[in-house]
């Protein structure tokens, strides 16, 4: 296929598939922990990190990663120590991040194309060096998730019992927040800061509609994320549309499809289980 003969497209496909997979995997944990909005909040805070990088002429992805990771830990600590709800902590810190970002960008005089690529994503412009750094970061996130998979699942499902099993729940929660920060920074290259939360939430939400167990939910979320990236990139290439918006719209279509499939499945089960419309299994 001619599309794959272009170097920039090869890099975009490789980075897009890996980063979307990381986001989808983390998204399943975040949704079930009722922390879906953390991606949205971290994206705002990451904007301040990008702006800082532009101001001091450092690698913006590096400063973004640093600010996002510190912010993620800040959200966890604010929730623990200040005794406030997580969405309140996210609301406060993300507003601070956005306000600081606007000021820093203004000071740097960087309201330009470069900033737009961070806000709206520019996956087709990923440089080879960015690809390698993205691959390294994404691989690290994946390895950590695989190593802590069982503990993350237990903590997500029942954190109290996980603690009684000797699992260091708070440490694990901080780690998950830091991994999410890394995913937000990675996702920034694919769909931009304004849409990165969607990459974390929508494929995972779609996977959760159809899964029979947790592992299936992750596999389905990854498949949906990868398909969305592929369709988004092809659409972008052939119809000259923004890749970021295309990817998220395809993911949203997958989500709607998963909702329809779930309703269909529930209807079939009700139909098979008799007139009481109950699909709970009988005691005996």
């Amino acid at each position: 296929m001619s599309i794959l003969s272009y170097g920039f497209m090869q890099r975009a496909l490789l980075a897009g598939i890996l980063i979307a997979s990381v986001c989808a995997t983390l998204g399943v944990f975040l949704i079930l922990r009722r922390e879906a909005m953390i991606g949205h909040g971290l994206a705002h805070l990451t904007f301040a990190g990008v702006a800082l990088g532009l101001l001091v002429h450092l690698w913006p992805m590096g400063t973004a990663l640093l600010v996002a990771a510190l912010s993620a830990l800040g959200i966890v600590k604010l929730r623990e120590k200040a005794g406030i709800y997580e969405d309140t902590a996210i609301g406060i810190l993300s507003s601070i991040g956005m306000a600081a970002g606007v000021i820093l960008v203004s000071l740097a005089g960087s309201f330009n194309v470069s900033l737009m690529s961070y806000l709206f994503g520019n996956i087709l412009a990923i440089a080879p060096s960015e690809l390698w750094s993205s691959l390294a970061l994404a691989s690290t996130v994946f390895v950590v998730i695989i190593l802590f998979y069982q503990e993350l699942l237990f903590t997500t499902f029942d954190s109290e019992s996980a603690k009684v099993s000797g699992i260091r729940v708070k440490r694990l929660e901080a780690m998950l927040a830091a991994l999410t920060a890394a995913a937000v920074v990675l996702g920034m290259k694919v769909v931009g800061l304004l849409l990165v939360a969607a990459l974390l939430v929508i494929p995972s939400a779609a996977g959760l509609q159809m899964a029979g167990n947790f592992f299936q939910a992750i596999v389905l979320a990854i498949i949906i994320a990868v398909v969305s990236v592929l369709l988004g990139l092809f659409t972008s290439f052939y119809w000259n549309l923004p890749a970021s918006g295309s990817i998220i719209l395809f993911a949203s279509l997958c989500f709607l499809g998963s909702l329809a499939l779930r309703r269909l499945r529930a209807g079939l089960i009700r139909l098979c289980s008799g007139p009481d419309n109950s699909y709970k299994i009988n005691e005996e």
């Binding site: 069982q150 499902f157 009684v164 592992f215």
Partner: protein
């Protein structure tokens, strides 16, 4: 019933705990020995759940000492000796996509070191635990698709999959019908008598559990009573406190 053992499995001495300025537990001291089937009873807000959470290290007491298996709670590390069925087990998110097998597998993590991976050998333990609670055929079912009684059995399987010495259950039959409750308590009685698992049960079903328990702790911020079943039935302090409900626990069906 209690076997000779060099130390109590649970030792609680002078525990105090307050949520902010609200005192919840005052000078609680008790011991739980191997083989006990202890029922902790008391009115709503009497501190029963708080006491269990302090014993298990989920909450930190304001003062007092906790020892598990003779070891201070702060340095205790043999979590595989404990099984826990929390109150929240009866309020699980029915949309959470986790299978019965995955829930039971969680119980194995306490006995593992990093990386805590589930191996093929663990699958046998999972199958055995599910069979013990008569839920083997529901292994691959999503937990939210099971009835309340079946979900409780899965949580019991999770708590016993590591073959713990002591099992803590916090109002495990909330929202479960009477017939299922009886089957559930029969299972606990069997775990205590046959599997020799010490059981600590917070319950409101004092009539239903009477034929299984051999120790009773009656709590209302302070420990009103702690002793064996027979002493409980003769206690005038308990009679005053329970106001007519004492006989429910003393009448063994």
């Amino acid at each position: 019933m209690s076997d000779h053992h060099p130390y109590p499995l649970v030792y609680v001495q002078g525990v105090n705990f307050a949520y902010g300025t609200t005192l919840v537990l005052s000078e609680i001291s008790l011991e739980i020995s191997k083989g006990d089937f202890l029922a902790i009873i008391g009115p709503n807000g009497s501190g029963k759940t708080t006491l269990i959470k302090i014993i298990l290290g989920i909450l930190r007491p304001d003062s007092g000492q906790i020892k598990l298996f003779g070891q201070d709670l702060g340095s205790f590390s043999k979590w595989e000796k404990l099984g826990y069925v929390p109150q929240s087990a009866s309020q699980i998110d029915s949309l959470f996509p986790v299978s019965a097998r995955e829930v039971v597998a969680m119980g194995l993590l306490s006995g593992k070191k990093f990386p805590r991976l589930i191996t093929r050998a663990d699958e046998k333990a999972i199958d055995e635990a599910l069979e013990l609670v008569d839920m083997g055929k529901f292994k691959t079912r999503r937990i939210g698709e099971l009835s309340g009684g079946q979900q409780q059995r899965i949580f019991i399987a999770r708590a016993i999959v590591n073959k713990p010495d002591i099992l803590f259950l916090d109002e495990p039959t909330t929202g479960v019908d009477a017939a299922t409750q009886t089957r559930f308590y029969d299972l606990l009685g069997s775990l205590n008598q046959v599997q020799k698992i010490t059981i600590v049960l917070i319950t409101h079903d004092i009539g239903v559990v009477s034929k299984y328990v051999n120790k009773v702790a009656c709590l209302n911020q302070k420990l009103i009573f702690h002793g064996n079943h027979e002493e409980f039935c003769r206690s005038s302090v308990v009679e005053d406190f329970l106001r007519g409900e004492q006989h429910l626990l003393c009448h063994r069906h």
